[in-house]
Point group: C2
Chain length 211, copies 2
C-alpha cells in the first residue's frame, strides 16, 4: 500500500464531517495507521492519560447507536420541521446538513469502525480546557483518515448515556469518553471545503470587538 500524497494544506481545507458512511470494512492496518497519527497530537505535559477504543462489535454498537439516536432526537430531531423549512445557508446549517445528521443518527451503527477517544482519570474534572489533551489528537485521526479516503465526524451525542457507554466499553469509573468518531468510506457527498463564516468576522487583531 503506497502512502497517500495529499498535501497537509489541501487536507486541512477538504475534510468536512462525512455523515454518509458505507459499511465497507476498513483494514486493521489502516486503522492502526490512523491511530499512530492520532497519538502524535498534543496532550498536557505529554502524560498521555488517554485510551483509544476501537469498536467493531455489532451488538455493542447497536446499544450505543440507540443512545446516539436519543441524543440526536433531543438536541436536533425536535427541531425537524423548522430545520427542513429553512433556506440553505452559506454556513452549511440548512436542511441538507440536518438531513445528513439525521441520516447519521439512523445509520451510525453501519459505520464499520468506531473510535472512542477516552481520557482516564477525567470523569470528575471541572477544567473547561480538559479537551486540550485529546481533541487535537482526534483531529489528527480524522485528517489521517482523510488521507486514506475514509470519512469521519466528531460526535458527542452518545454522552447522555455516559455511564452505560463506559460500562459497555469496560472503562474504569474515572474515565470519560470524549467523543464517538465513526469511520467509514463515504457513500455520498464529497471532500468539499467546510463552509464557515468569513474570516474577518471571527478574527481580531489585538482586541476583540463585538459585531
Amino acid at each position: 500500500m503506497s502512502e497517500p500524497e495529499i498535501t497537509v494544506l489541501e487536507a486541512l481545507h477538504s475534510t468536512p464531517a462525512r455523515r454518509y458512511l458505507s459499511p465497507e470494512p476498513i483494514g486493521d492496518d489502516i486503522v492502526r495507521k490512523l491511530l499512530d497519527a492520532a497519538i502524535r497530537g498534543p496532550n498536557g505535559g505529554n502524560t498521555q492519560r488517554w485510551a483509544w477504543i476501537v469498536l467493531r462489535d455489532p451488538a455493542v454498537k447497536a446499544q450505543i447507536a440507540a443512545f446516539y439516536q436519543e441524543g440526536w432526537d433531543k438536541l436536533y430531531g425536535v427541531h425537524r420541521e423548522v430545520m427542513l423549512a429553512q433556506p440553505e445557508s452559506a454556513n452549511g446549517q440548512g436542511p441538507a446538513n440536518f438531513r445528513a445528521g439525521d441520516h447519521l443518527a439512523a445509520h451510525i451503527q453501519e459505520a464499520p469502525v468506531w473510535i472512542f477517544p477516552v481520557l482516564l482519570g477525567a470523569a470528575k474534572s471541572a477544567n473547561p480546557r480538559l479537551g486540550a489533551s485529546i481533541y487535537g489528537a482526534v483531529q489528527q485521526l480524522m485528517l489521517a483518515a482523510r488521507a486514506y479516503g475514509i470519512g469521519s465526524t466528531l460526535t458527542t451525542l452518545h454522552s447522555g448515556h455516559e455511564a452505560e457507554t463506559r460500562e459497555l466499553l469496560g472503562l474504569p469509573e474515572d474515565a470519560l469518553t470524549m467523543a464517538l468518531v465513526p469511520l467509514g468510506y463515504p457513500s455520498k457527498g464529497r471532500w468539499a471545503e467546510p463552509k464557515r463564516r468569513p474570516l474577518d468576522e471571527v478574527v481580531f487583531n489585538d482586541r476583540y470587538t463585538a459585531s
Copy 2:
C-alpha cells in the same frame, strides 16, 4: 509565495511542540492562511461560537507573559530539581523537555504572534467536552503553521489569570480563552516525530483492559 508541498501524513508525524521560537516577524498574509485553515476545523452544530485573537501588541504580551510564567512556576517550576535530575525518558518527559518548557516560560513574549482561540458564551459551561468545538481547529492552525515552517505549541498556563486576560483582550465576560498558541520560526530543535507510548499500550479492541 508557493504553497508548501508537505503531505498530510508527514505533517501529522512531524509536528512536535516547538518551544524555542525566534522573534523573526511572521507576515500577515501567512497568519491569515493559518487562520483560514483553522476555521475549517470542527465545531458543534457549525455554530462557530468562536473568536480568534491575533496578539502582537508587546505591552499586552508582556502582561500575559507574566501570567504564563506564574502558571509555569506553580505547575512545573516547583519540580525543577526533580525534573532535571531524571534520566531522559522515551516518552520525552525528561530534562530536555523541562528545559524547553522553562525556556518558553521565560521567552514566550518574544514569539512574534500569539493566537488566542476563544469560545464565546462558554465561561459558565460545565460541559467537559466543551473543547470539542475548538481544539480540532487549533490543531489545524498548528498543522498549517508546520507547513510554513512555523513552530507552535498548545498552552493553557495563562489561565490562572483568565479574568485579567479576558479584559486585556477586550473579550466579553461570557467568553473563555481556550489556549494561548505562540507562533514563531523555530530557533532550535527540529521537526521530529513526537515521542509517545507504544500504540499497543493505549489502543484497545472493543473493550478497555487495565494495564
